[in-house]
Structure formats: structure tokens, C-alpha cells
């Protein structure tokens, strides 16, 4: 693997964010401030019927050194099982870890026989919200149904499938 210097990942905007965060102690408490999120992820169903999920993040701005969120935790921020669905999460990672969010969506689908939309809704709008956690997930099931739901103000997202669906949205109104 080719390694790159640390400076490669830094952008002026992120450095400014860090400076601001350092100045404003209050920001530390607002883990879900828009500046602090922005994790990326993808889920897909291929022609052979296999599901896959991937998530990548820089974590929270001004995070404690060594802090790991849900993105690299299999079951929390990322999960895929051909028997149920593929899920990628974004939001306040600590809550996603504690609720095992990605895996819980799959478990509700497989064991409680909820639809993908219902499973995602229950996890994001009921369980996660009840615990005080903010964020969203994208998910695709074995039939190619896509669910993208969030309890935050918005979630940058896109969906495309073999039936011609293709959309990009940021806020709740744009389906």
C-alpha cells in the first residue's frame, strides 16, 4: 500500500473547523453538529444476489485522539448479510455502537419479518431517537428495495437501481 503524508487528508476547511471547535468548548458537546458528521458509505445488491456494505469516515471534528466511532465496527456502522440486507450508517457513532444499529436492521428484517423500510424506521426513529442518538442509515435488501432514512435535519444521499430509479437528495422533502 502506498502511504501518504498526513497533510494529504487535511483541507483548509477542516483545519478551520478544528480551530473553531477548539475555541468553542461548547461545540464539544454537540457531537452531531453538521461539521462533525459527513461520514460516507454505500450499499449494493449485485446481479448475483450478493449484498455488500462499506463505510468510511474521519470521525468527529475535535475528537479525542484514538476515538473510534461506528463506521469501522462491523454490526454498528456497517453490516451485510445475503440472507437479509446491507446497511451503512452515519451519525453519532457512540449511539450506533451501543445499539448495534446496522446489525439490528438486519435482525429485525430477518427475525421479525419487518420490511426494510419498517426495520430502518424502527431503528432510526424509535430506538436511536429514544436513546438520544442522531443520524441515519442507507440500506438495500435482497429484492433491491432501498431505504434511506434519518432523524437528523438531512442526509446527503443518492439511490439508483436497475428499474430506472435515480435520485440524489439532501433534506427530507426531496424523496
Amino acid at each position: 500500500m502506498v502511504l501518504v503524508p498526513r497533510g494529504y487528508f487535511r483541507t483548509e476547511a477542516r483545519v478551520r473547523e478544528l480551530d473553531e471547535a477548539r475555541q468553542t468548548e461548547a461545540l464539544q458537546l454537540k457531537a452531531a453538529a453538521p461539521a462533525a458528521t459527513g461520514t460516507v458509505g454505500a450499499v449494493a445488491l449485485d446481479r448475483a444476489g450478493h449484498l455488500a456494505a462499506a463505510t468510511s469516515t474521519g470521525g468527529l471534528t475535535n475528537k479525542h485522539r484514538g476515538r473510534v466511532g461506528d463506521s469501522p465496527i462491523v454490526g454498528a456502522g456497517t453490516y451485510a448479510d445475503d440472507a437479509s440486507c446491507a446497511v451503512s450508517g452515519t451519525g453519532q457513532g457512540e449511539f450506533f455502537i451501543r445499539q448495534v444499529v446496522a446489525y439490528d436492521v438486519c435482525a429485525l428484517l430477518q427475525y421479525r419479518h419487518l420490511t426494510l423500510a419498517q426495520a430502518v424506521r424502527e431503528v432510526i426513529h424509535e430506538k436511536l431517537r429514544a436513546s438520544g442518538g442522531e443520524g441515519g442509515v442507507i440500506a438495500v435488501d435482497r429484492s433491491g428495495n432501498i431505504a434511506m432514512d434519518f432523524n437528523s435535519v438531512g442526509m446527503f444521499r443518492g439511490a439508483r437501481d436497475s428499474r430506472g430509479r435515480r435520485d440524489i437528495a439532501m433534506y427530507r422533502d426531496a424523496r
Binding site: 485522539r65 465496527i73 455502537i97 451501543r98 448495534v100 427475525y111
Partner: protein, 312 residues
């Protein structure tokens, strides 16, 4: 089960493990078996004593795991397995079933009792998982006394690493990849807790993290459902989200705790090719301890008078 005692709401129980994959019985010397048993008894009774005095399940699992971390016979804390480069890197997690609070640390090299740092992460930081140097920085901020990595290393683990690197099997020692420790408990207030601590696999690549500090994989607790701690081939337990799978099977499918643990080990993990063991306690105080390896160092004790230590 015989008739429930009238005060069954106040039932309490604790179970512990010192790793699955016990050496074949014929290869375990009597002297070493006594050491393992004594270590398990100390941890079991230490945790139980707290429950008896009305302590929380969280305190009980912390205390039990701390005792096992300090005991060089087990693969956690002092006497943990060595990495490929001869160092010790420790992982631990704790979970409070009350509000699904959790704390974990991974790849720490200087914290004497990683379970205590995991608990501090849960109670004093806004995070769940801290790793490596950042976790140790947090330990310093919280005034933990750090110890040199040498503190954890023992002659036996050094020999084990050398044998493993030469491709030889080691007799009379816990198999290299195992020996993780853990505890689950139900207290008199009905609160569940789980804790797990490990040095990981002998000869592991530096930076490798197994299932122990992964909430949902090696450790999970949810009030009203169950508390689970795992030991075994961590990569498989992560992929199966083993500890949470047990809870989901109980909660969503109304399987008994025993069925849920059995399915997770002998169907799901077996199908993936991973072996190991699980201990779990249910909301009614029922304890389940099961494994797919030759043995699992384990102990169980409850307010109904049960007290047992077993290996095979």
C-alpha cells in the same frame, strides 16, 4: 427448575469465563489445573461477594474481570498473550444493560487493568471506544498509573510465542489464540452487565483487534433481555455480531437463552467456521455457559446456592 423462591425478583447471579479452547485434558497438569481453578474461584467469589452486599452487576463484572486480569494464568492483563513483535496489546469492554451504556479500549500497552479504563471511557468520556495511544492519553488525563509493557509479559507467554513462531504446538498452556476472560451478572435490582478483557491471539499482528472490545460482538448487555461475554476466534464473532445475536434471538424470536446461545455457537459460528464459547445470564438469573471447543474455563454462582467451576 424447582419452584421459584418467593423473592425471585431479587435473584442475583454471576458467571465468568477464562477462555475457551482449554488444553486437552490429558495434557493439563494437576498443578496447573489447580491454578486455573483457584483463579476462577477468586474471580467468581469476588464478583459474587459484591452482589451479595447489594452491589451492582456493573461492579461485580468489573471486579471479577479485574481479578482475572491480575492473574497471570489467563490471557488478559498480566500474563496476556504476546504479539508478533513480543509486546502485549490489550483490549477490553464493559456494558451496562440499564441504558445500553458501554465503554471499550483496544490496543493499549500500558494500562494495568484495561477493564477499569473501559469503564472510565463509559463513565467519563463522551465516547464508547478509544484505541492505542489516544486511549492511553485518556488514561493519563484520568490519572491512571501506567505501567511499562514489561509488567504484562511472562516467561510462559514468551515461550509460547517462540513455539508458535517455530510452528510448534505448546503443551500444558491455554491454546495461543484463547484465554480471554469475561463476566456477566444480574444484580438484585434486575440490572444486567457484561465485561470482557483479553490480550488477543499469540503472535498476532500489532494493531489486530478481536471481538472482545467490540460492543455487540464479544460483549453485550441489555436489561430485560440478557448479558453476554464471548471468547474464541474473534474474527468470526465480529462477523456474526455474536453477543448481540444472542440478545436479538431472545428478544425478537423469544428463544430461550439456552437456545439462543446454542444457535449462535453451533449453527451460526459453526457455519462460518469459528469456534469458541459464550457465557450469558438472563433477566431471570438463568446462567448459560456453552462452547464449541474442547473446554472453557468457567464458573457460575447465584443467590439460589449454585456454585460451580468447570473446565471441560
Amino acid at each position: 427448575m424447582p419452584g421459584k423462591p418467593s423473592g425471585s425478583a431479587n435473584r442475583y447471579a454471576i458467571a465468568i469465563h477464562g477462555g475457551a479452547g482449554a488444553v486437552p485434558r490429558a495434557m493439563l497438569s494437576e498443578q496447573r489445573e489447580q491454578r486455573y481453578r483457584a483463579g476462577l474461584e477468586a474471580a467468581l467469589d469476588g464478583g459474587f461477594a459484591l452482589l451479595e452486599r447489594g452491589g451492582s452487576s456493573l461492579d461485580a463484572v468489573s471486579a471479577a474481570v479485574r481479578i482475572l486480569e491480575d492473574d497471570p494464568s489467563f490471557n488478559a492483563g498480566h500474563g496476556a498473550a504476546l504479539t508478533r513483535d513480543g509486546a502485549v496489546e490489550l483490549d477490553a469492554a464493559i456494558m451496562d444493560g440499564r441504558q445500553l451504556r458501554a465503554g471499550a479500549v483496544a490496543s493499549v500497552r500500558h494500562v494495568r487493568n484495561p477493564i477499569e479504563l473501559a469503564r472510565r471511557v463509559m463513565e467519563k468520556s463522551r465516547h464508547v471506544l478509544l484505541v492505542g495511544a489516544g486511549a492511553e492519553e485518556f488514561a493519563l488525563e484520568e490519572n491512571f498509573a501506567l505501567v511499562p509493557n514489561r509488567y504484562f509479559r511472562t516467561v510462559e507467554r514468551q515461550e509460547q510465542l517462540e513455539c508458535e513462531q517455530r510452528g510448534q504446538r505448546v503443551s500444558d498452556l491455554v491454546p495461543s489464540s484463547q484465554g480471554t476472560v469475561g463476566a456477566v451478572a444480574l444484580d438484585g435490582d434486575g440490572n444486567l452487565a457484561a465485561a470482557t478483557s483479553t490480550g488477543g491471539m499469540t503472535n498476532k499482528r500489532p494493531g489486530r483487534v478481536g471481538d472482545s472490545p467490540i460492543i455487540g460482538a464479544g460483549t453485550y448487555a441489555k436489561n430485560g433481555v440478557c448479558a453476554v461475554s464471548a471468547t474464541g476466534h474473534g474474527e468470526y464473532f465480529i462477523r456474526a455480531v455474536a453477543a448481540h445475536h444472542v440478545c436479538a434471538a431472545v428478544e425478537y424470536r423469544a428463544l430461550s437463552l439456552q437456545q439462543a446461545v446454542h444457535e449462535t455457537l453451533h449453527e451460526i459460528l459453526a457455519a462460518l467456521g469459528g469456534d469458541g464459547g459464550l457465557i450469558a445470564v438472563g433477566t431471570d438469573g438463568q446462567i448459560v455457559m456453552d462452547f464449541s471447543t474442547e473446554g472453557m474455563f468457567r464458573g457460575a454462582r447465584d443467590s439460589g446456592g449454585r456454585r460451580e467451576i468447570a473446565i471441560y
